[in-house]
Symmetry: C2
Subunit: 141 residues, 2 copies
């Protein structure tokens, strides 16, 4: 069984703050906060982080298997939310920016496609009503 | 326009590590890592954190509006993933554990229902194939 967990504890019991201390099942700590508290990312930002990280780890792993020479790699995730409740995302763009020597666009396209359609657990957990666009930029090293 | 973003940079360019430093659009930093690196939560754990935080912030906010006397509040999120790719979640349980004086079960049930069905942007972003179960425990202070 592939089980994951997270334990969140409200740190701002007094007042109106909404800061939570988080301990994940793998023993990692982080802080979530609302827009006023600003001690950590908001939950909605955290969803984008989860998606970008999932996709980024897939892509870097596949590019390494394809022996691509990566010197620097960034993932920029941008999402637009609905104006009405529930304010789920309507559209998310995932930009993969890879710096390296002699990088193959075909290898990168293949890696992104495999992540989007097969490997990324977070991507596969999101409703199809969210338009998810993947793009890439290759920066020669 | 309600726009959110996150910028992830691969910190382990050499070797096989998959650690990403994250800067969110609201200026918050965190670290994501894979299971081997263990410098931060994994992307899949981070999805549970986003869901638990979103739901927890809704519930605490609604309980405060209903003038419930909260002394301690935890959210425990547990998810089971599919064994096959894509390993999206199959089932997620969100347990709200509220400690307080004279807490109203009806108020808590109402808060959870409003979050699950109306307010929680992360919940509304997840595919309906994921069975999401919300439970609660009231601990008298």
């Amino acid at each position: 069984m592939n089980r994951k967990s997270a334990h969140l504890t409200l740190e701002t019991v007094e007042g109106t703050g909404q800061r939570f201390g988080v301990l994940t099942g793998s023993g990692m700590r982080m802080t979530l906060d609302d827009r006023n508290g600003q001690q950590g990312p908001t939950p909605v930002e955290t969803l984008l982080v989860a998606l970008g990280g999932c996709s980024g780890m897939d892509v870097v792993s596949i590019l390494r298997k394809k022996r691509q020479d990566i010197r620097h790699y960034e993932v920029v995730v941008t999402g637009e939310q609905r104006e009405e409740h529930p304010r789920r995302f309507q559209r998310i763009e995932i930009l993969h920016r890879v710096h390296g020597a002699d990088l193959s666009p075909a290898a990168l396209e293949d890696a992104i496609r495999l992540s989007d359609t097969k490997y990324c657990s977070v991507h596969a957990s999101l409703v199809p009503e969210i338009e998810i666009i993947s793009r890439y930029e290759i920066v020669p090293a």
